[in-house]
């Protein structure tokens, strides 16, 4: 595929992710921090986010599976997830963390389980989208093009 077509696809796809609320302005901050001396910065941070989140989701699943749920511990994990998702601009994940913290405070196990399900959903959605975005970037670079900056 031509570089120009790939670049257009990249810009359209990125725009849609912002429009649909998967990503917010913080993601643009990450993109602005990427340059010739740090060409993989976005992918590196996002990869750390994926690893961190998958660990947290496992910990949350385990914590909520206990006969005597430690809600403080659950809340601490959610707080971490809220923070890291916010730092990379994964808005929809961050947004689910807010009611999740409320259900922890209320010690509402069913509420927590529902929120965990939602947060997993949103996480895997944004993960798929970002991986698709990175693949587009790789295609552009492989075709000899430059990754365009999103306005």
């Amino acid at each position: 595929m031509e570089v120009v077509q790939l670049q257009r696809s990249f810009l359209e796809y990125t725009s849609s992710l912002f429009q649909e609320g998967f990503l917010d302005a913080q993601f643009s901050q990450l993109q602005q921090l990427q340059d010739e001396s740090n060409p993989q910065f976005v992918m590196e941070v996002v990869t750390l986010f994926f690893e961190d989140t998958e660990r947290l989701l496992n910990d949350l699943t385990t914590a909520l599976d206990q006969s005597n749920v430690d809600f403080k511990k659950v809340d601490a994990h959610v707080h971490q997830l809220k923070g890291s998702s916010s730092s990379i601009g994964a808005q929809r994940v961050t947004n689910v963390c807010i009611p999740f913290r409320n259900t922890c405070e209320e010690q509402n196990i069913q509420g927590c389980l529902r929120c965990l399900q939602l947060v997993k959903q949103e996480y895997f959605l944004v993960k798929n989208k970002l991986e698709a975005l990175f693949r587009l970037e790789q295609q552009i670079v492989a075709a000899g093009g430059v990754i365009p900056m999103v306005e």
């Binding site: 901050q29 941070v45 986010f49 961190d52 971490q80 923070g83 890291s84 916010s86 730092s87 601009g89």
Partner: protein, 158 residues
């Protein structure tokens, strides 16, 4: 927009300010490191307060060093397990060796009482996460000069 940061704020060529960034989140450490290096700072990261104190020469079992740890700014997350950012701030301000190093607290939660107590304890600034490039540019004026860390701050007031 290129910024000639080498002579910015009185730091000469090769005199990049050294920032110690403390945060238990790996994602946030990566972000703060990049934000600071993009602003021409040297960065050392620590994952908790204990480690930060060790790097500053004030760890448990370490003899108090008379050597200047050469850190021009400490930026720490507030919410950390074990020693919080506030605890770290207090320890730094209680130390005759470290008390002149400016400390900035960052937090994901906008709690006015939290902000107030940090500022009262001697923090230079309280910033909200997630951190952006505009926040880091603000930090430069809080950094002490590289070779004269006890010569006071580069801007008056907050």
């Amino acid at each position: 927009m290129a910024s000639s940061s080498s002579s910015f704020m009185g730091f000469g060529d090769g005199e990049r300010p050294h920032v110690l960034a403390v945060d238990d989140s790996l994602v946030d450490r990566k972000l703060i490191e990049r934000l600071l290096t993009s602003s021409a700072c040297k960065v050392t990261t620590a994952e908790n307060g204990q480690r930060a104190l060790e790097l500053l020469g004030l760890g448990e079992g370490q003899r108090v060093l008379s050597i200047d740890p050469k850190v021009n700014l400490i930026i720490t997350d507030y919410c950390m397990p074990g020693m919080t950012g506030f605890d770290l701030l207090k320890k730094v301000k209680e130390s005759s060796m470290l008390k002149d190093i400016p400390v900035v607290i960052v937090s994901s939660e906008n709690v006015p009482t939290r902000m107030k107590k940090c500022l009262e304890e001697g923090a230079q600034e309280f910033l909200l996460k997630p951190l952006k490039q505009s926040d880091v540019k603000k930090l430069r004026c809080h950094m002490t000069k590289v070779n004269h860390s006890s010569d006071g701050k580069l801007c008056i007031g907050r």
